[in-house]
Symmetry: C2
Subunit: 419 residues, 2 copies
């Protein structure tokens, strides 16, 4: 335990020192590193797949479940995508050093803001080895150092990837300690990582709700996170039926297990008899189980009754809760009470309902006439994302490069003093 | 204790409900409330001063120290300033609902960001009753609800001010619970306030370092804060002597007890013999004690030697530490090691030194040829400030209206679904 503490403190010190160098690294060096890492990943793809196979063999021995095995498994294609991801990050504009809002004040000083890195970022994740490369790429580009703690099930592959990242950093004259992979699988390493305030500025956990809740409650460092995605689609009184049908279908059925999948459908009372049967039919044909309120059951006989708990539930499964509401006001109140503040959408042709929904729904993404599945860093044009935040402080919604940065005020004077 | 818990939970519930109404309140209603509060403060200034006198009498009985008594004491002028502060906040642009960066994506959706309130803000402060009104004004304008926990020494005045704020809110049709003053002086109320995650979104403590450290370590809610201001002025190799003299004088001597006062002077070795005697002479004439490094002592005989601890110290007193450094690189390294990341300034005519200092000093305000005393919300054009943050997450530097807000992503579609 003391050895682990010492080891993690050493990683922390290395990261802090590297973060100073990364903060002043120029855009060219960072991009050279990203492209070098992409090339070395492609060159070493056979080795990466071998390491992944070794991890998979060990995971099978320890009887890992099929879903986790699936997330752990790399292919030629997914290795190529890692490299492409790095090339895409290299092509993004460097956010660091950007100066905005530089204006003269009556005192004669100019005041503006300069975008700066956060410093050291701790990332805790499970299974997917591609997160190692994605996270490293985003942290390098945003001028941060990072400490990556992947799951023990991917340790061989992650260590190899770290080695390749270090080669790329070195080739661009950047410090290897800008990206460190925790090499011990001892669980107490996580406890150290999330409490080393002096060395780590922010923690980003990625994984199941249980992991994230535990990390949030034990961390002594700010955490950027989302716990779950209980996303709603509200079909308003003036919804276009065809749009509603397409949006509900895509939001619910395109992928069942993602955080931006819809888990709850709200329908305005005035259009429920007209629209709900068609929508329910589509859902049932897609194999989705409906759990409805009493009014829903009257319109769609034979479906199961929803409990209050259903309206709070992120199923991540072929189930949707359905509730009939009076109007946009009731829909907004229901969403603000039950949703996880991830992503909620209204389907409407009515200007005032759309305007009200956008203003009043208190979620990280609020949509009009679009599928909740769009809540994603690439779809939003952020270029890449390290995760999604449903918190209000610092970063909210998909977190791209900007979420990994802060700002400082800069003041340019000519000898001014305060009167 | 259980009563206090119940009482604070009730304030929390009230605040959460009020925050929903404040979030959708229009700019006009918020401004009407601010102006009504300003008027009622002026009308009731005699009552306010009476309540303040009662607090002062009680404070004297309990032998409060002179500095704290000074901060507690209101005058006709300071009451008038409270009202003016509210008028100034009313005149600021409403940040809430502002939509930025709304752009079409290849999928056909438009993605942008809308500025939204944080929700419920807990503010913990000591002595100064004017903070009650300033904080209420900023929270109202930014569409938040707040729970204000002033010191027990100002309880009578704060309760009266709360009553006046409620009158103003009511006259504009806004909920009184948008601004609640904790009416118990029981210390356990603070413990409840900083751990009621379900009701409070952020804590802003204002006061001594001890108070803020305690709150930060015990809070289970994000804290916007600064602990101290160990601010530096670095006189570079190509400094203009007259600017250096004026800036050091103003930074150190204009006010001794503020967080943006300089506590440390760094001088480039090549100009130390030429510039330091004049600067030291000015400081000594201003009654400032110098604590210098060995090289400083050789140039300015008779001053006290600085310990390593001096370079980390925020004196808030007529003392300054002085160190001679090789150049801007060494100054930056010294500052990043020793400063409290509040405000640090370079005095230079050299373009490259200025550019490097701005980029590499990791503080919330970084200045060229200007007094550190400018680090202030009004001076920066923020209109008002609720405090200063030296943290990197969410808000950094002086925190005005924008620091009390967050953003959400908005998506405007026309029936788009994800492919």
């Amino acid at each position: 335990m003391n050895d682990i503490k010492q080891y993690m403190q050493q990683l922390g010190q290395n990261a802090r020192a590297a973060s100073r160098l990364m903060a002043k690294a120029d855009s060219n060096a960072k991009n050279l590193a990203l492209l070098a890492i992409a090339r070395t990943i492609i060159r070493n793809r056979a080795l990466i797949l071998d390491a992944n196979q070794a991890d998979i063999a060990a995971a099978k021995k320890s009887r890992m479940d099929a879903a986790m095995l699936d997330r752990l498994t790399l292919s030629e294609k997914s290795v190529a995508q890692m490299a492409q991801g790095l090339e895409q990050i290299a092509a993004l504009t460097d956010p660091i050093g950007e100066i905005t809002d530089l204006k003269y004040r009556p005192s004669g000083i100019q005041v503006g803001r300069m975008r700066v890195p956060l410093g050291v970022i701790g990332i805790i994740y499970e299974a997917r080895p591609n997160v190692t490369v994605d996270a490293a790429g985003l942290c390098i580009k945003s001028g941060n150092a990072c400490i990556l703690r992947g799951g023990s099930e991917a340790i061989q592959c992650n260590q190899l990837l770290a080695k390749l990242v270090h080669e790329g950093l070195a080739s661009a004259g950047l410090p290897a300690a800008a990206v460190q992979v925790v090499e011990t699988t001892d669980r107490s390493a996580v406890g150290e990582l999330i409490t080393m305030k002096e060395f780590v500025d922010v923690i980003i956990p990625r994984g199941g709700k249980g992991l994230i809740e535990r990390i949030s409650s034990e961390a002594r460092i700010p955490v950027i996170k989302h716990l779950d995605g209980n996303c709603h689609v509200y079909v308003d009184e003036e919804a276009d039926f065809n749009k509603a049908l397409k949006i509900v279908e895509n939001s619910k059925t395109q992928r069942l297990g993602t955080c931006n999948t819809a888990e709850s459908l709200l329908v305005a009372r005035t259009v429920a008899a007209e629209m709900l049967p068609g929508i329910a039919d589509m859902l049932i044909k897609n194999g989705i189980e409906i759990r409805g309120c009493a009014e829903t059951l009257a319109i769609i006989p034979g479906v199961r009754a929803a409990t209050e708990q259903d309206h709070y539930t992120e199923y991540l499964d072929a189930i949707i809760s359905v509730k009939i509401v009076a109007n946009a006001d009731e829909a907004i109140a229901h969403i603000n009470q039950h949703s996880s503040q991830h992503t909620d959408a209204i389907v409407t042709e009515n200007y005032s309902s759309a305007r009200k929904f956008l203003r009043e729904v208190d979620s990280s993404s609020v949509m009009v006439n679009a599928s909740t599945r769009f809540a994603d860093g690439f779809e939003y044009g952020l270029g890449a994302e390290i995760g999604i935040s449903t918190d209000k402080l610092h970063a909210r919604g998909p977190v791209g490069l900007e979420g990994l940065t802060s700002v400082k005020f800069i003041v340019l004077g000519n000898g001014q003093v305060r009167g």
